[in-house]
């Protein structure tokens, strides 16, 4: 048995390499920038504020990580038209 084990022994470094490559590809996409959520929040707000009046305090950006995917949740409260309403685009 031990002789068989000796001949069928597989090296472990390729497994380490593969696991790291998978993990880091994911982590870089989601956490690569520690301030990613803040950056997304600013940029999404800037785009929406071009067209709609929004209250910067009533915005929620949340990132959640699952095993194989991550979700980005953006929750923005838009003021009613009477309180400012739609702005002209441009």
């Amino acid at each position: 048995m031990s002789v068989l084990k000796f001949f069928t022994r597989r090296s472990s470094a390729p497994a380490a390499r593969e696991r790291l490559q998978l993990l880091l590809a994911h982590e870089r996409a989601v956490f690569g920038r520690t301030d990613l959520v803040a950056v997304l929040q600013d940029e999404i707000l800037a785009v929406i504020a071009k067209h709609v009046a929004i209250d910067p305090d009533k915005v929620r950006v949340k990132m959640d990580r699952q095993d194989t995917f991550a979700t980005l949740e953006v929750d923005i409260e838009i003021r009613s038209p009477s309180a400012g309403g739609l702005k002209m685009a441009g």
Partner: protein, 271 residues
């Protein structure tokens, strides 16, 4: 023009302090004036590894807060004149570091030394942030092991976003120092190879430090390994790395211990 270098890793115990002492001494051995700065406030160890633990009077926090000046806090190495140490505080909390204070101290050091080497604490919190904040280039100390490589990747992300250089829109130069490397184990397939780590982290290579009992021996004695035993394998690797930092082209090798006549007769092991 002074260069500010941060020695960092994310993970603890991979050899940041050992490498700071060894690279600092190696650069000083080439005639450069060097100051090594311990940013591990509350858990200082660079003084101990350098053999200066009984000479600490004032520390980085005292200078940051204006309670002492640099002349009072800097400890000049007894073996090499051009090497100095700015120790961390052992009693204070890392919250005692302030952005303005650290900036001022680094600025003053830049007027006095060719190299300022900042030994980062492990982790990604305040101390690590300030250690990397003003760096011109970063040495990422990594062991060929999954958790160390992962944490190095995280630190690279921070170097590219949280440093002054990154905020100015410039690219931070990041160099890998692979420590505790065993060419035999990598060849057997039981350790990540240099090329694997380089490919995964996609940064350039500063040096490969072989696993060696000489590193522990040197720290037992309170001496940078390059001073304790300059011809040992890790010392030659650090000395080569220091020459690369100075812009020299040095062929990349993994130094091995040179054995004497008896060592050659009896010391060979079947690989």
């Amino acid at each position: 023009m002074a260069e500010v270098l941060v020695v960092t890793s994310g993970k603890g115990g991979v050899g940041k302090t050992t490498s700071t002492a060894a690279l600092g001494a190696a650069l000083a051995q080439t005639g450069q004036s060097v100051c090594v700065v311990d940013f591990d406030v509350g858990l200082r160890n660079l003084d101990l590894v350098m053999g200066a633990e009984r000479r600490v009077v004032y520390d980085l926090i005292n200078v940051v807060q204006g309670d002492a000046n640099l002349n009072q806090a800097l400890i000049r190495d007894k073996r090499i004149d051009s090497l100095s140490l700015l120790p961390a505080s052992q009693t204070r909390d890392k919250d005692a570091l302030t952005a303005e204070g650290v900036e001022r101290v680094i600025g003053e050091l830049k007027n006095r030394f060719d190299w300022i080497i900042c030994d980062s604490p492990a982790g990604i919190e305040r101390g690590a942030y300030f250690a990397m904040r003003h760096a011109d280039l970063a040495v990422i100390v990594t062991n060929p092991e999954v958790s160390s490589v992962r944490d190095s990747d995280r630190i690279i992300g921070l170097l590219d976003s949280k440093t002054e250089k990154a905020e100015r829109g410039e690219v931070m130069e990041k160099l890998l120092l692979l420590t505790r490397y065993s060419p035999e184990r990598a060849e057997r397939g039981d350790m990540l190879k240099v090329e694997d780590v380089l490919e995964i982290l996609s940064i350039s290579l500063l040096g490969i430090i072989p696993e060696s009992p000489e590193v522990l021996k040197a720290s037992n004695l309170g001496s940078p390994v390059t001073l304790a035993n300059p011809i040992s394998a890790p010392s030659r690797a650090y000395l080569d790395a220091a020459r690369r930092l100075r812009g020299e082209t040095v062929p990349m090798t993994v130094p091995t211990e040179r054995k004497g006549f008896l060592g050659n007769l009896f010391g060979r092991r079947a690989a």
